[in-house]
């Protein structure tokens, strides 16, 4: 009977999102949490459909992996192809790529922070679910919310001005980019970058006033409920400071010591991915540390990527206002910071950095040079490219034959890198919140907050945007009989 009595709680976005991701929590006979599964439900097969394609087309094909972070795939692909074709893009091309990519990061962070996470943060996690969404936020904080919408649109316009299209850009080609930036366009973009910086700084002040200076929230957000002590990974420049477009991959251990630092080309020596048949998302881990299952700590190869991990691996920030915010962040949380909900705070600091970096690049006299393509190079037939996607380290790897036709490809995407951590976070928070079969209503949102910190754009295929992710908890027996149904809203 023991096995039969085991209960499964299914938390699923009640929506068709359920078709993409689902959480199952399995209770033991005492009604305590035995295990939890976070399942991704779709496979889009980009590693297969890229085979046979003309290599130079990949930046326009691979960006379709994700419509929320299409620029990240666009850039990782083109960087891999620069290498494959043996071409070093002219400095202006690299700067234009970084410039447009900074705008993209801001656009993505605004969607996540304001349209998705903010209802939890600024309306309280315990607010009535029917108002705890973007519309509720608009009513409670109209000025901030309208500004967020405005600056989201403005960051999109920047991507459009520089690269033609805001979603699924055609812009980058192996060896450079498809068009230069005119002086007229530069002036337009500067105005927008200044506005983005002001908006980012104001957003941070608002966050600090409402969360950090509020004891109740501070404990909830940065206490023990959401915390993992893992390795962290991120891209760094030669000064070991954050860069979204280029650099070496740096890994630190849970105590903050540098464990590895490597070129993207060596990634196969450092990263491997496990497969579990209950999800379409794999489980990357640090190969030299080893896969010990879903556990954290120094002995486990589980690592995290995204905003907080990036700040953890970065020795300060390369721009002044972001540096100020960074010091305050680390003084408050310690370094490395392990609190998962601090991902949100870190995103705001990154918005400041990206705005400042945009302004730096826009003041560079080279930025309007017409020299944006290098058509020469020694063809290599293989290339790896890495960027920091808004959601973390992203690697594209391609091989091609002598005609430049893709013969093999491998992609490691950030939400996949965080898969093990997300599963652990869900299991841990469920264990703390569910006892003796008792599933309080509040558990729904508390568990949801655990994975929302990592991203609503789970697996680059769920991408819930504004409003909230509706959840349902179904407690059922193994034969699928519904014993109890809890629903938010």
């Amino acid at each position: 009977m023991g096995e039969k009595e085991r209960k499964i709680i299914t938390i699923e976005p009640v929506t068709r999102l359920e078709g993409e991701a689902k959480i199952n929590i399995i209770l033991d006979e005492e009604g305590n949490v035995k295990d939890a599964y976070f399942q991704v439900m779709d496979y889009r097969a980009f590693e297969v459909l890229s085979v046979g394609r003309q290599a130079e087309e990949m930046p326009r094909i691979a960006n379709r992996i994700c419509g929320v972070c299409s620029w990240a795939h666009h850039m990782a692909a083109v960087k891999a192809l620069d290498q494959l074709f043996g071409r070093d893009p002219p400095p202006t091309a690299k700067k234009l790529r970084e410039l447009s990519y900074c705008a993209h990061t801001i656009h993505s962070h605004i969607i996540h922070f304001f349209l998705f996470a903010s209802p939890d943060l600024f309306l309280s996690p315990d607010a009535e679910p029917s108002v705890r969404n973007f519309i509720g936020l608009l009513q409670r904080h109209p000025e901030l919310t309208k500004r967020a919408l405005k600056w989201h649109t403005e960051s999109e316009r920047v991507q459009e001005i520089i690269g033609g299209k805001a979603v699924h850009p055609p812009f980058a080609i192996p060896g450079g980019v498809s068009k230069p930036l005119t002086e007229e366009e530069r002036v337009k973009v500067i105005e927008k970058a200044k506005g983005l910086l002001d908006f980012s700084l104001d957003s941070l002040s608002f966050f600090k006033k409402n969360i950090i200076e509020n004891e109740k929230y501070r404990d909830l957000f940065f206490g023990d409920l959401y915390r993992l002590e893992t390795y962290y990974m991120g891209l760094v420049d030669p000064n070991n400071q954050i860069n979204f477009y280029d650099g070496k991959i740096r890994v630190i251990d849970p105590e903050g010591h540098e464990t590895f630092k490597f070129d993207c080309s060596d990634y196969l020596d450092y990263i491997a991915e496990r497969v579990e048949p209950w999800t379409y998302t794999k489980f990357p881990y640090l190969k030299k540390i080893g896969w010990k299952g879903l556990v954290d700590g120094k002995g486990s190869g589980v690592y995290r990527v995204n905003s907080l991990p990036r700040l953890n691996v970065s020795k300060g920030m390369p721009t002044p206002k972001a540096q100020e915010a960074y010091e305050d962040f680390m003084d408050t949380l310690g370094r490395p910071a392990h609190a998962t909900l601090a991902f949100h705070w870190a995103r705001l600091i990154e918005m400041i950095y990206c705005s400042e970096r945009m302004l730096e690049l826009l003041e560079d006299p080279e930025i309007t040079s017409k020299d944006v393509m290098n058509y020469t190079g020694d063809y290599k037939g293989e290339g790896m490219g890495v960027v920091e996607a808004p959601r973390g380290t992203l690697i594209h790897h391609y091989e091609a034959d002598e005609n430049g036709i893709i013969t093999n490809s491998n992609l490691i995407v950030p939400t996949t890198m965080n898969n093990a951590a997300i599963c652990m976070e869900i299991r841990n928070s469920a264990r703390k919140l569910i006892r003796g079969g008792n599933v309080p209503e509040g558990v729904l949102n508390r568990v949801e907050m655990a994975f929302r910190a990592y991203d609503p754009c789970l697996s680059c295929s769920t991408h819930a945007l504004p409003g909230e992710m509706p959840l349902e908890v179904v407690i059922m027996s193994e034969d699928g009989r519904v014993l109890r149904r809890l629903r938010r809203g």
Partner: protein, 328 residues
């Protein structure tokens, strides 16, 4: 005025269609005023049960292609309840980029993705979707053998192509919703796109008669910004692709890859393009193109499938033939 019942449901999606809606900005508030959003995972706190319980929906909008059995169920449910069904985005209309996976059958595809990829550590060769579990809830929806556009399974009333559709198309669709409030029903088969090809909207200098002597790839040399891509020997699907995209790629000096789908009355975008290119190769040539010359030309275009069918392979004639063999 009565509120229009609206629902959005998904197949295999990238999220770009949701972002396209968000870009509509203030126009979204008009939508919220005109419609009761029964279900839309990205935007409202909808519940699948609400959708199941709702008997009739005025307008159902479907994003994404059909990849898994689950997607097909979602589509059929939405069709059954909706007075008007909209295929929104290239994946719903034509299969889109995920349709390029159709040159490989799904089990092969999973083996490549979950066993053969370089960083994968899967000694037992377990394949997601093919395992049974003691806990039924852990079962994953199985992939269908091929990706399909939604019109393979249901009747489509309004088509909104684009990857993603531009904000102008979103605005027009929102106007359709507002018209429904006054019982103005759009004509069946309405395309929110132009009825003419992209070339009619392209400002580049075009030749009277197109002649192609050799092909070039986009990374192979400078591309002139004011001259027809095809004249420069660069494959551009403009002549066989619907206009309405705002020529955004063209303006960024990149050729069209056909995301708006075929021009009216053309079923197969790739075949039509092939015949256009073939005649351009022969145009005004006194002599016939020799076999060796043809081979050279073909070598210059090593992936015609990927280039001519980048967004429409799943809707192509070759693919349908394969689908028949599969009995899927």
């Amino acid at each position: 005025m009565r509120k229009i019942k609206l629902a959005v449901d998904y197949g295999s999606i990238c999220g770009g269609c949701d972002v396209a809606f968000i870009d509509a900005g203030e126009k979204l508030i008009e939508l919220a005023n005109a419609a009761e959003i029964v279900f839309w995972p990205a935007v409202v706190d909808g519940k699948e049960e609400d959708l199941r319980k709702t008997r009739e929906i005025d307008i159902g909008i479907f994003f994404g292609a059909i990849r898994t059995e689950r997607h097909k169920e979602a589509l059929e449910q939405l069709r059954e309840k909706s007075r008007i069904l909209v295929a929104f985005g290239t994946c719903a209309c034509y299969g889109g980029i995920p349709g390029l996976a159709n040159s490989v059958e799904s089990r092969v595809l999973l083996k490549k993705g979950y066993v053969a990829t370089k960083s994968t550590d899967n000694p037992d060769g377990k394949l997601p979707g093919f395992e049974e579990f003691k806990e039924a809830a852990l079962r994953l929806p199985r992939l269908r053998s091929l990706v399909s556009p939604i019109c393979d399974f249901v009747d489509v009333d309004i088509w909104v192509p684009g990857c993603p559709p531009p904000v102008e198309s979103v605005n027009k669709l929102i106007d359709v919703v507002k018209d429904l409030q006054e019982d103005q029903v759009p004509p069946k088969g309405l395309f929110i796109a132009e009825g003419r090809s992209l070339c009619d909207f392209c400002e580049r200098e075009k030749p009277e008669v197109l002649r192609i002597k050799r092909f070039r790839r986009v990374h192979e040399g400078e591309i002139k910004r004011d001259e027809c891509f095809l004249k420069q020997g660069i494959i551009c699907l403009g002549p066989v692709t619907r206009g309405g995209c705002g020529a955004r790629c063209i303006d960024a000096n990149m050729p069209c890859r056909g995301c708006f789908g075929p021009v009216p009355n053309v079923e197969d975008q790739g075949t039509r393009f092939l015949s256009a290119v073939a005649s351009a190769l022969m145009a005004e040539e006194e002599r016939e193109v020799g076999e060796e010359e043809l081979r050279k030309l073909i070598d210059e275009l090593p992936d015609p499938l990927g280039l001519f069918y980048m967004y429409s392979l799943a809707a192509s004639i070759i693919n349908r033939r394969y689908l028949d063999l599969e009995g899927d």
